[in-house]
Symmetry: T
């Protein structure tokens, strides 16, 4: 049986660091999409808030199986 997967592009954010931002994005994806199989990092940025704190942002693509 041939599977077809879909890729969805999401952005996780965290004040800790890039790894934490990836985990925030994955946590959200797994909570709302069934059968998440893999992720790929697309890019990494960060936004400096007025108080100087840094919000790290990681853009990832998550792949999940489309039900048959």
């Amino acid at each position: 049986m041939e599977h077809v997967f879909k890729l969805s592009e999401i952005v996780g954010t965290s004040h800790e660091g890039s790894d934490a931002a990836i985990k925030a994005a994955l946590k959200r994806a797994q909570a709302t999409i069934r059968g998440v199989k893999w992720y790929e990092v697309v890019s990494q940025r960060g936004y400096i808030e007025d108080d100087g704190k840094v919000q790290h942002q990681v853009v990832i693509k998550v792949g999940f199986a489309l039900d048959d």
Copy 2:
């Protein structure tokens, strides 16, 4: 509170030019998606119709906050 954003890839078209094509895509996105925060231009093409008129096409990604 950490936010998670989603990126959606859409193509705006216009017979005027690329700026008008971007605005057409944004107008459609803001009409159907809540909380559109930013856009990124991916690529620019155009299609020449039989009468020689040009349909400019701009591929953009729009980012919007996922509700919590």
Copy 3:
């Protein structure tokens, strides 16, 4: 009338080869999305199963018109 199109990123798989993987992805897209207009190949990979058989995977973007 200006049209707006959406791009969706999907992965077709096949044990035959890359062309067959593209066709599997397109078949699925056309079955679930109305007005699929074009596709673009993003990348090609393959996964080697334990018995040595190869599952070819092609990532494509399909473009379709958003209803007005």
Copy 4:
């Protein structure tokens, strides 16, 4: 019947802006090549003349059908 198309890379210029530069390039292409079907933007630059005026330059590829 299978068609074969050719891509030609040209640079339009304009003192107005990038959209005007694209139109200058397309106008020239349509005047000298039959069956121009589409264009793709490759890159955008500009040259600052001695009097400070700006010549915007847009590199595009135009695609046209090869006669059978």
Copy 5:
């Protein structure tokens, strides 16, 4: 003797698949250009016709020796 080669960018199409589209482009190139030495695949797309049939399009560059 130093050779100089030229690269020409063409698009082959086929309803069969990408390999067939490459061969259609090469066939046309070899029929009209002498001394075609190599080709490189640039990108792969496809256009979905109104009846749902798929026209696969492969952009290739062909290299050929310029006569001395």
Copy 6:
């Protein structure tokens, strides 16, 4: 006499469109740097403000001659 040039990366913004954003960046560069010779567009984004208005942002590199 061999010249050496420097490249500086700046971001112009405008609520009108991308061409206006490029001109805002160039205006600023020419006001503070002598001998601006050329510019290259690096990328185009935009930020959607709370009231829905769009701030178009274009990243360009400007090249200028280093005095001898």
Copy 7:
């Protein structure tokens, strides 16, 4: 237990087409390397022999587990 994999870049060739060239490269890899897990297509070219026949060349990376 954390695994470490190695990537090796090889070029398959075939007079049939790109799919056949990928299979030739995989066949060789699986014959000489244990634990080949996946492949990624890097690029596709072809060489036109003197008699006009085409040797299709596909560059792939194969990934395999390093023994512990």
Copy 8:
């Protein structure tokens, strides 16, 4: 009022890891540049010192508002 921003490319280093290297670069930027608004990761490398210790290096671009 249209803002113009500047991008500066800097390299943070750390023996801890990539996140720490990003923070070192940001700390330095915020200490010497007013109005740092965002950063983008360009690339990640590392240098292995003679004693085998690893100095992680992350190249980032920081964006800051140019005063009016």
Copy 9:
């Protein structure tokens, strides 16, 4: 004396995060290759196991001096 270095592409994995995956790959490289001088990150992905746990995968190139 001119040195020649070799680059080897390997993939580190870890359930902790990307930094840990880089360190796993470096540890393995330094255990089997003499004179490892530097590494470059190529790409970052991750595989979601059946129990939902995430295996982070970082592709790096390690550079080492070839003995004379």
Copy 10:
């Protein structure tokens, strides 16, 4: 008066080195095309002949003004 330029992609070769290969390509271009204005290096390769001698190959694009 707005100018339109054309870009042509050619490959220079030399047994000396890459600079010599660029000059061979430029020499040929200037001999057959009027108004060559600039060149851009696209890529550099080389072919090892049976006797071990190296033919360096540099792909360049040359830009020239189209007559009005």
Copy 11:
């Protein structure tokens, strides 16, 4: 002690060739910046002067340590 480095993008030119253009840029950088540690080639172009002579232009990034 963690170091922070800065990258500056400059363009060297020479009528001799690309190597000479790189050296011209480095010479200028070392004359005006303390602690230049490395350079990376970004791109290579050239400008054909009215008398047919060629000005080779190489864009490089130079990295230097920021004083503590």
Copy 12:
């Protein structure tokens, strides 16, 4: 008979220039690998030694036939 080739990534260095660095890498490759067929330049960097002298570094891939 279908051939399979392997690509190996090596870095040549020289105090003379980039062409000399390419030749140093090729010389080493031809001394240790049989059947080197071609090379491709991947990137060019250089390292500034403490005495200000420059070590030019060119990363190339060499392709060689795998014995049958």
